[in-house]
Symmetry: C3
Subunit: 109 residues, 3 copies
């Protein structure tokens, strides 16, 4: 059995969680933040049979792949002026995934 630990963006959690649940995988979400006060990360743990690791990785790829989205940045407002910038492309998504070995699995009933 394997433990898949993935660090994903918060924004991808709902759809990845939905995908994992629909495919029958139990997932645990840990509250987390990135290094040196960077916000917006979520760490998830999935215990999974060895032969299902690739399927879980594919679900992560499908739901967390990087993409560019146009975003309008608002500068500090200046009273009386109505400043707008053209939208810029911002890269979102991406994930870091670790797979570790599980020696024993127990289900306590």
């Amino acid at each position: 059995m394997k433990m898949v630990i993935a660090i994903i963006q918060d924004r991808d959690w709902v759809k990845l969680s939905k995908g994992l649940t629909e495919h029958g995988y139990g997932v645990t979400k840990l509250s987390s933040t990135g290094g040196f006060l960077r916000q917006g990360n979520t760490t998830i743990m999935i215990g999974v049979e060895d032969e299902k690791v690739e399927d879980v990785l594919q679900l992560i790829r499908d739901n967390c792949k990087k993409k560019e989205i146009p975003m309008t940045l608002y500068p500090p407002s200046i009273t009386g002026l109505n400043m707008t910038s053209p939208p810029v492309n911002v890269t979102v998504g991406g994930a870091t995934v670790f797979v570790m070995n599980i020696e024993q699995f127990h289900h306590v009933e």
Copy 2:
């Protein structure tokens, strides 16, 4: 040395933590939630000597085993009516436990 990672119900945390501490095990509690927005789970990590794994598992079984408790469900109130349902049995408790290998252990003094 082994890392015991257990996902338990919040309601079992205080008594399991007390049991582990009384038996001399250090335990770390991570804030967590279950898959697809399910609430009420707690993830714990315990670093433990190989020969103590079974003792820790037994403490988890003792404190987290499933049981049925009677619970009265309150329907949305209807003004002027005093509706009560008979109590129903709800299953609580249970745990998922993973045991993983620890290659190095360091205590920083």
Copy 3:
């Protein structure tokens, strides 16, 4: 590749995180509390190449070593009396570190 999991004191997080980031290590901070309701711990995860484990351990030692600091303890106030105690030395810092094996590492782009 290795997973370094360290349980440190909250007070050491900012400087350790800064040190890890400056040396190019990605670090994920998990919200955590210690056993039986003890507060003030932080759990961090660092995925790192085998040959960098010692460097990460040294950064943890440098930033989290135990030290004694003088602390003035304030007794419950008694109205009309201005009681102060001499400062006492309190030990802070220290860390528990586990190193585990990572079988696969994936970066989702």
